[in-house]
Symmetry: C2
Subunit: 296 residues, 2 copies
């Protein structure tokens, strides 16, 4: 590349995420979108699951937004995706079913396919997060005790610099985010794992766009597997079987703080990855959990 | 009642749970079952969500067990239920769709209806837990630090005794379980909440039956809402929007140890309830999370 991104990623450019997750109705609760190449973990590899989930959730929200039975319930307060087959770059279609349209919540079911081959099946309940107010009732859970942004490693810039020095090219998805990672959690890539199943840090879009609720779905799946930080030596593929996200609020502007934890790898290689996302005002934005399989 | 259950509930009786969750195929991936009155939180009230989930999961497992494409993948390694309307005592039918039947995992989708009215929609991935082995790879997560069974309150016996002394009749679902609850977590009912969003204790079937993986689904939804122990004074209805369970192993015989935690009640009354179940050998059996709404 002759032009490399600036280390200050904030710009007035239109949102890459909004563009790459756009869907278009073709009638009968069917939507089409385009899986782009910029969200893969490896060059030419399968796109990130959280990104796929965001495309589908956009179609689900659009379906209920167009329904005459109620208000703009476009935010998934709980959405579950089961990953059936790897997706590829190219067109995708999403068939959405309105399971129930209630006064406050709508439940939707969706199937995402490429060339007739189903890759993701989803079930979710949607609401209008702007209508729920912003005052928390009680949050015993606290944000992760990470150092402030300025004391974290500019992980994205470091990876780009390393590539320019002849190292491995950073994964395409790394270019989507401005990652500021606590040094303790960044050492796994150079043989200094933290010794527990944790990934996380401060994160925002690389292009400086505002983070919307659907962007949070991508954030919750954008880190390397938390199990890479256990120090058990396995850095192999950790395919996601199922990912569920609970969205609690629209994030305020600024960096989000995300933490992903794996605390139980059990027989057969099954593991959970529990995520949480907080906004710059210290408010809980989302919780997530996935079931994945550790490489054996 | 003239006959009251013994305080030693172990007997050779056939399993009440197996009877009350039985399903019968009527062909075309459709099953019928019977919602019985013994699983309600209030006499004559709606049956417990985990119980309904177990009926549906039994139909989903039966569907894939009858599929020629693979082995007995009858155990839900991850199953999500969205609750659409309260169920009532009486017949129920479950329509199951095989979304994908892979070598190790099968993904199934199901709709549970009563008289044509849908009450639960489910999506799950099933496997054969007996085929995954029993040796855990790594479990940093530890069982809850509860006192042993003998030092806990025999909550079921206490509730029955209280009713015989002229108190409120215990909820029907309480008779399904033999509950041994740490004293600290049992005081909420008499005005001494623990001061945090936690419920839990040791638990087994009241009739002494062996606990199968589907029984764990009912266990994970059988406690009063964890939020009742915060001391915030709200003891109102906490309807479940969505419940997801990850099953990791078939439990060993003996008491299970369950813990349910609510740590974030946010704007609009949304809260999570995170559950975990361990078996008598100290092994992780299941994790769960639900999204629910606190009464306002």
């Amino acid at each position: 590349m002759t032009t490399t991104p600036s280390t200050d990623p904030v710009s007035a450019a239109p949102s890459r995420f909004a563009h790459d997750t756009a869907v278009r109705s073709t009638g009968d609760s069917r939507y089409v979108g385009e899986v782009t190449s910029g969200w893969a973990v490896m060059e030419g590899g399968a796109p990130n699951g959280g990104y796929l989930m965001a495309i589908a959730a956009r179609a689900m929200g659009a379906t209920i937004a167009a329904d005459e039975r109620g208000p703009n319930r476009v935010d998934p307060v709980s959405v579950t995706a089961h990953f059936l087959a790897p997706a590829v770059e190219g067109p995708v279609d999403i068939d959405v079913e309105v399971v129930r349209a209630g006064r406050r919540h709508a439940t939707l079911h969706a199937a995402m396919r490429q060339d007739g081959r189903e890759c993701v099946r989803l079930l979710g309940t949607f609401a209008d997060l702007d209508a729920t107010g912003s005052d928390d009732v009680r949050v015993d859970r606290q944000p992760p005790p990470y150092p402030p942004v300025a004391e974290c490693l500019d992980f994205t810039a470091a990876a780009i610099a390393q590539a320019e020095d002849g190292g491995y090219p950073p994964p395409p998805i790394l270019h989507r985010f401005d990652h500021r990672v606590p040094h303790e959690l960044a050492g796994w890539a150079v043989g200094r794992p933290a010794g527990r199943g944790e990934m996380g840090g401060h994160v925002r879009w690389y292009d400086g766009a505002e983070m919307d609720p659907l962007g949070v779905l991508a954030v919750l799946d954008c880190y390397p597997p938390a199990v890479f930080n256990t120090g058990d030596g396995s850095l192999g593929w950790v395919p996601t079987i199922e990912l569920t996200v609970q969205l609690r609020r629209r994030p305020s502007p600024g960096y989000l703080t995300a933490r992903l934890l794996t605390q139980a790898i059990t027989a057969g290689g099954y593991l959970e990855e529990d995520g949480e996302v907080w906004d710059a005002e210290g408010r809980l934005v989302a919780l997530s959990r996935q079931l994945a399989l550790a490489a054996r």
